[in-house]
């Protein structure tokens, strides 16, 4: 079980949250200008990182807010939590290799 620190409510058990997939995926400005392949890439294709991954979580059984988490997909270490619209924090290489 992960303990996730909601940016508002504080540390809560994973069972209070829902996972929202990869963060910082921007909707294309002009979807009608994309090929089918480009559109499918935007809709369905996600990176499958071994290491640091920026992802969205929803505090669905708490304050019901979305936020971002920077998690190491190998160790499950959560290195940072930041609100929607905030820039992802810069992580020093030494920490990245944890």
């Amino acid at each position: 079980m992960l303990l996730i620190k909601c940016p508002w409510c504080g540390e809560r058990p994973e069972t209070e949250f829902h996972y929202g997939g990869e963060a910082h995926i921007e909707r294309p400005e002009n979807p009608e200008a994309l090929s089918d392949e480009e559109w499918a890439n935007f809709l369905f294709m996600r990176s499958n990182v071994k290491g640091l991954f920026r992802e969205r979580w929803h505090h669905s059984n708490g304050c019901r807010r979305w936020f971002n988490v920077l998690r190491n997909t190998v160790s499950h270490d959560i290195l940072a939590v930041y609100r929607m619209g905030e820039k992802p924090p810069v992580i020093e290489p030494a920490e990245e290799n944890r």
Binding site: P13, T15, N61, G62
Partner: protein, 184 residues
């Protein structure tokens, strides 16, 4: 006779679930209030309407005259009061104010869990820490209680109010009365 006269408790015929340690609270007016707490107009309107300062710190409550507000989110509160006119107190926001008022009185029932083993029973039913070093009177959390969505408020030394969904109320009350058995 008000609009609550048609409300039926989900516990009718279930009085055997209750004891000194677990009680159903009488019907209470509940209003979900949303707005921007950084907006002075919003704050002023709430203060004038309810005589209440909204809690801005997460997981806190604040009390006004005849009502109180529970923090639910950074722009969301649950206002509780015994007066069924609570929602109408908030029925005329200033022009152009971005806010929402929803009467949710029938959404949740309130159970009171109290006594020397109240915290033990909560710990059996919920993953959060209710030890006095991190939780106390005047604090509130939205979480899962016996896997069902609930709001848990500490109203006194060993007294907790549990706001549970109407449709889950019987299940939660049965769970809690069972959890209390080992302490009786």
């Amino acid at each position: 006779m008000g609009k609550f006269e048609h409300w039926h408790s989900p516990f009718e015929g279930q009085e055997n679930l209750f004891s000194d340690a677990l009680k159903a609270q009488p019907f209470t007016a509940q209003v979900n209030l949303r707005g921007n707490p950084d907006d002075g107009v919003f704050n002023g309107w709430v203060k004038d309407s309810l005589d209440l300062e909204l809690p801005l710190e997460p997981n806190r409550i604040s009390e006004g005259k005849g009502c109180k507000a529970l923090w639910l989110g950074p722009d969301e509160w649950l206002v509780i009061g015994s007066d069924e006119g609570l929602a109408s107190d908030l029925s005329s926001p200033p022009d152009g104010l971005h806010s929402a008022v929803t009467d949710v009185s029938a959404n949740r029932v309130i159970l009171e869990l109290s006594g020397p083993h109240a915290r033990d029973v909560l710990s059996k039913s919920c993953e959060l820490d209710f030890h006095p070093r991190v939780f106390g009177t005047g604090m509130v959390v939205q979480t899962l209680l016996a896997k069902s969505q609930a709001i848990i408020e500490q109203v006194g030394g060993d007294r907790y109010h549990l706001y549970v969904r109407n449709s889950f109320a019987r299940y939660v009350a049965e769970w809690l009365s069972d959890a209390l058995l080992e302490f009786q």
